[in-house]
């Protein structure tokens, strides 16, 4: 018994000594540069971009640690309310009911939402009006929009998703009803998938499907249709010719810390915006 205690004691002491060493070494290295931890949490659409930006930023500023967490746009607002994150990441505009929690708002990138169909589809082009009618259930057969005689299988994202919010708002699938209340009119007869990957997989493997994903995730397994005659590309999103696009936001609950300020300056710098572009999104500067 005594022996075990002795060994445990020695181990604890040794660890303590080591930890002390680490601390001293760390502060000596970084000199008088800014140190600290910056936490971002929120939209899973913004998360891959944030991680990319954080990796490069941390290489250049070894004293600062960036922690990137997901959770969703709603979680981003919650995180800054509860002060567990410096920045909340949103893939949509700040909602009216959330405005009180937001002190600072930074647009860090733009993202287009591509409308996709199964590769075997004959349809190449749709208007915003046609997309709206398909998603509200007014048009249910492909032959009405220039395709073959087959029922349209509508694939949608889940309620509350940022991509869905952006898509329904821009295509007017969501709109005010007679009472003046904002209503999402997506047809009840739509398959719902909980992630971009699942939507892609569903549209790629199921005949006669239509769905929507963010431009950065587009791949050859599906076909992106032209909207109002414009194909979804970075140039057309930035120029505004492609109609279905949305902002990526960083929001803060108060004045950002020094380290956080450094990070946001980096994102909006030429170098940061280049990373935005390389990640498949559209730079804002």
């Amino acid at each position: 018994m005594k022996k075990i205690f002795a060994i445990a004691l020695v181990t604890v002491l040794a660890l303590g000594a080591l930890a002390g060493c680490g601390k001293q070494g760390g502060s000596a290295d970084s000199g008088n540069a800014i140190t600290g931890t910056v936490v971002t949490a929120g939209s899973t659409s913004v998360q891959p971009l944030s991680e990319e930006l954080a990796a490069v930023f941390m290489d250049e500023n070894p004293g600062i640690t960036i922690e990137v967490q997901g959770g969703g746009s709603g979680q981003g607002i919650k995180a800054i309310q509860e002060k567990i994150a410096d920045f909340g990441a949103l893939s949509r505009e700040v909602k009216e009911e959330e405005k009180a929690a937001v002190a600072q708002e930074y647009v860090i990138a733009k993202d287009g939402v591509a409308v996709i169909v199964n590769r075997d589809s004959k349809v190449e082009e749709l208007t915003l009006e046609q997309i709206k009618k398909i998603y509200t259930g007014e048009i249910t057969n492909w032959k009405d929009v220039g395709g073959v005689d087959a029922s349209i299988v509508v694939v949608s994202r889940e309620e509350g998703s940022g991509t869905r919010g952006a898509f329904t708002e821009i295509t007017k699938v969501a709109g005010k009803n007679e009472a003046g209340v904002e209503v999402d009119n997506t047809t009840k007869n739509s398959l719902v998938q909980g992630s971009t990957g699942a939507v892609m997989q569903t549209v790629a493997t199921t005949p006669n499907t239509i769905g929507y994903v963010s431009l950065g995730s587009l791949s050859d397994t599906v076909k992106a249709v032209k909207v109002e005659g414009v194909a979804p590309t970075e140039e057309t999103v930035l120029s505004g010719e492609y109609k279905i696009s949305r902002p990526f936001l960083y929001v803060a609950g108060g004045e950002p810390s020094e380290a956080a300020k450094l990070f946001i300056d980096f994102i909006l710098s030429e170098e940061g915006q280049k990373i935005v572009e390389e990640s498949g999104f559209v730079p804002v500067k």
Binding site: G74, Q75, E97, E159, K188, L191, V192
Partner: protein, 296 residues
């Protein structure tokens, strides 16, 4: 020695307390987060409302309850006969050394992560239903949905997922039936099948029933696999080929992006799920007592 015993006793007490307190905390947390919405919206409207559309302020979860029940029932209809037959085969028919290999293969099923089952369902079961079963079904119902995302797909995957539970517990309780029962039955001139059906299974019924209840619990609570393959359409289904949304799937899928009220509503869905599972447990325990849990 006495001192160390006391320390160990305290440690065990702490572990037991942590387990109990966690259950209590989770219950309190779920109810605290969900009850405001239930109170505001009305319990009756919440449970019997047929429109689930949180963005528009409609929180009727009847379609989700139907979805969960149908998928679970489907899984049990496929899983119980298969599982029971498999258990009987392993314990009574297959030679011992072969049974060992079979058993470990089935136990392996329990170790596969559920998202892998879901992906398997998405790339194999759903297209298979679309190509082979839907054309036949369409002869009788030309208006049917044509995607394969359906109750049937969910039920098949869940049936596979609950097999290890049903097989291993049923098999144990069949093996535990006293040898004399079997010998007496055979001595009276009953055949092998007669012995199995009329003596062994009835004698092991309480173990079999508890295996089914555990399997059902898993089927109701399963989230990831079902989420990927049932289509998540919050509409009361008309047939087993229709897509459905389940209680667990909806919570998992919508929690991430939910606005504050929507999030509370999802916790309220959690309360209903909680109550459904409690009720099933109570019913199960009562019926087990009714059957007289003697033989296992």
């Amino acid at each position: 020695m006495k001192k160390s015993e006391k320390i160990i006793e305290k440690l065990i007490l702490i572990s037991a307390a942590v387990a109990t307190i966690s259950v209590a905390l989770i219950t309190v947390f779920i109810f605290q987060s969900g009850l405001p919405v239930l109170a505001d919206y009305g319990v009756f409207h919440f449970i019997f409302g047929t429109t689930w559309s949180p963005t528009n302020g409609s929180y009727g979860i009847l379609p989700l309850i139907f979805g969960t029940l149908w998928v679970t029932i489907g899984a049990l209809v496929i899983g119980i006969p298969t599982g029971l037959a498999c258990a009987v085969f392993l314990s009574e028919i297959l030679p011992r050394k072969w049974a060992k290999a079979f058993r470990s293969a089935i136990e392996l099923l329990a170790g596969i992560p559920s998202v892998v089952y879901g992906f398997f369902g998405l790339v194999v079961i759903v297209p298979a239903i679309r190509t082979y079963i839907l054309p036949i079904y369409k002869i009788f119902n030309p208006e049917a949905s044509a995607t394969g995302f359906s109750i049937l797909a969910g039920a098949i995957i869940l049936a596979i997922m609950i097999l290890p539970t049903i097989v291993s517990i049923s098999e144990n309780s069949i093996s535990a039936v006293p040898k004399e029962f079997k010998e007496a039955s055979l001595a009276l001139g009953a055949g092998k099948m007669e012995t199995i059906v009329k003596v062994l299974i009835p004698a092991a019924r309480s173990g079999i029933l508890s295996s089914i209840i555990l399997g059902m619990g898993r089927a109701i609570g399963e989230t990831m696999a079902v989420l990927l393959i049932t289509g998540n359409m919050a509409k009361i289904p008309g047939s087993i080929m229709d897509p459905v949304a389940t209680l667990t799937g909806t919570i998992a899928m919508e929690m991430g992006y939910a606005s504050p009220t929507h999030q509370q509503a999802l916790f309220a869905v959690g309360i209903i799920l909680f109550i459904i599972i409690m009720l099933l447990n109570i019913i199960a325990q009562l019926s087990m007592r009714g059957l007289g849990g003697k033989a296992s």
